[in-house]
Symmetry: C2
Subunit: 307 residues, 2 copies
């Protein structure tokens, strides 16, 4: 089933201990779409500027990603510059230029309206909510956010959370959103804000899914997917968005959403994140095969399974 | 098969967000022994002072732990005072008084000499080596160390590593020992120093076992055991030593050491660590049952297993 994703398509300048890249294609919607495209049809809603050319377009079309919802505006695309020189787990931001993204008004092409899955990548919660409300027919809605929206736009964010099935954020964001330093207590508090499921991403330590308690208590136990111990982490940019793409893409590709499907989706999320960090930007995500993905899925299983 | 452990038996004063305890029974050998005692026979080599009374003795005897190697010296026992007020993952040390431990000369009772498993808990590497050399008949030797020995006693520590089958240390210690910030590269470097297996403990994120590459490359893949997301962490003191006790105790209880045995041992290590942090000091470890332990083992399996 098709996924519609709304989020940023951007240019990133990145410095890591492995080197530097200027203005490579980036943005949460880009990483998400590429990762999800190995599992199902993906349709993007975003805005880009005049600097978005045929080369960047080719990255999407090569993966059969529907770009009809990517608006071309006059001006420059969203630009981010950051480095990971001291700590590969946390980016230091040097510049953020919203450019055309600053006046983004998501427009949903009619051809997207039968999408059964919707992903609200990390953007202004006011826009996330607008897209959510314009697509009432979707079967499953997941979303992401970040510390900036949690700190300074909490009321708008809380409105978004009410309409989410799954929220995917990291440890720090979970603790910040719940104002509680214990992860289990924080998760329960976030689940009280709306989502039925919370996926907390732990970076190099994997991710944990927490479920809202059902009346009969069934299926409410947490589930933890590992991350692969990697010998060469070239660039962590986009790992979390790739996790979301693998997770949601796998779900959308399945005939039924059972607890076991969600567990495997957690593993596929981790798998896609592990590929992304092996090269700069979207390089690794552009050239994968489903076979490589499934081989790594089995590596993840071997990494944690007793039998 | 019996385990002999050499290490500290101490008194700890501990403050955490859950409260404060004065002079509770502690020390690496204490936590290790209690955790391992649920799996196999344990024999301790340590030194205590005149403040070690019948109450403390009772903690060991209640678990059938052999205390013939615990020497009574005149003076006070090793004492540590620390807090975890800002960060439950890292202790802040307020006082360390070596007392009788400062002149500790491990003496191995004859009755211990047929032990097939030896654990060298975190003490001066010179003493670790002496005990190792005095027990050449053991089948499997594991050990622990800490940043202090890595920084200031590295030559002595490197001699110990040559005689170890398994080294159990945390992320920071692994990176410090290898002088490499990438965990996989650091692990390989540490495995080059002697041990066949390195278990890196990640605190609330579990632990990863790395194996030295064999000639045919078989069985050399890493294995990761999760930690349980816990709603109430009362006191993290001793979690790492309890991990080691569960890990090594389980190994010693098995008829054969296969790769699957080592994987299950990783899970049992995590299980014992998860119990320890639920109460202050050794309180939780003193009152467990093997049934509770196996129930939690199954929780850990459910937490990470796909099927």
């Amino acid at each position: 089933m098709a996924i519609t994703v709304v989020g940023s398509v951007a240019f990133d300048s990145i410095e890591t201990p492995a080197g530097r890249r200027e203005r490579c294609l980036g943005g949460a919607a880009t990483y998400f779409s590429l990762a999800a495209s190995y599992f199902t049809d993906v349709r993007v809603i975003a805005v880009v500027g005049e600097d978005f050319g045929t080369k960047e377009e080719g990255v999407f079309t090569a993966r059969n990603i529907d770009m009809r919802g990517i608006e071309r505006a006059s001006g420059k695309s969203f630009f981010w510059e950051g480095s990971y020189l001291e700590n590969l787990n946390e980016a230091k931001t040097h510049a953020t230029e919203l450019n055309v993204f600053g006046v983004f008004e998501p427009k949903i092409p009619d051809a997207y309206r039968d999408s059964e899955f919707l992903f609200l990548a990390n953007i202004d919660p006011v826009l996330q909510r607008r897209v959510r409300e314009a697509m009432p027919q979707v079967k499953l809605v997941a979303g992401d956010t970040m510390n900036y929206w949690i700190k300074d736009h909490k009321p708008a964010l809380l409105e978004v959370l009410k309409g989410l099935d799954v929220l995917l954020i990291n440890d720090t964001e979970t603790r910040m959103l719940a104002q509680n330093s214990n992860l289990v207590q924080a998760a329960r508090s976030v689940l009280g804000m709306g989502p039925r499921m919370l996926v907390v991403k732990h970076g190099e330590y994997g991710a944990t899914a927490f479920h809202r308690a059902s009346k009969d208590g069934v299926g409410t136990k947490p589930f933890r997917a590992p991350a692969l111990p990697l010998e060469h982490v070239v660039d962590p940019t986009g790992a979390g968005d790739s996790f979301a793409g693998g997770f949601f893409g796998y779900l959308a590709s399945q005939p039924e959403l059972t607890p076991a499907t969600f567990r495997r989706a957690m593993f596929y999320g981790s798998v896609m994140g592990s590929f992304t960090v092996e090269r700069f930007g979207t390089e690794r995500l552009q050239e994968l095969s489903r076979r490589e993905i499934d081989e790594r899925f089995h590596l993840f299983r071997e990494l944690t399974h007793l039998d």
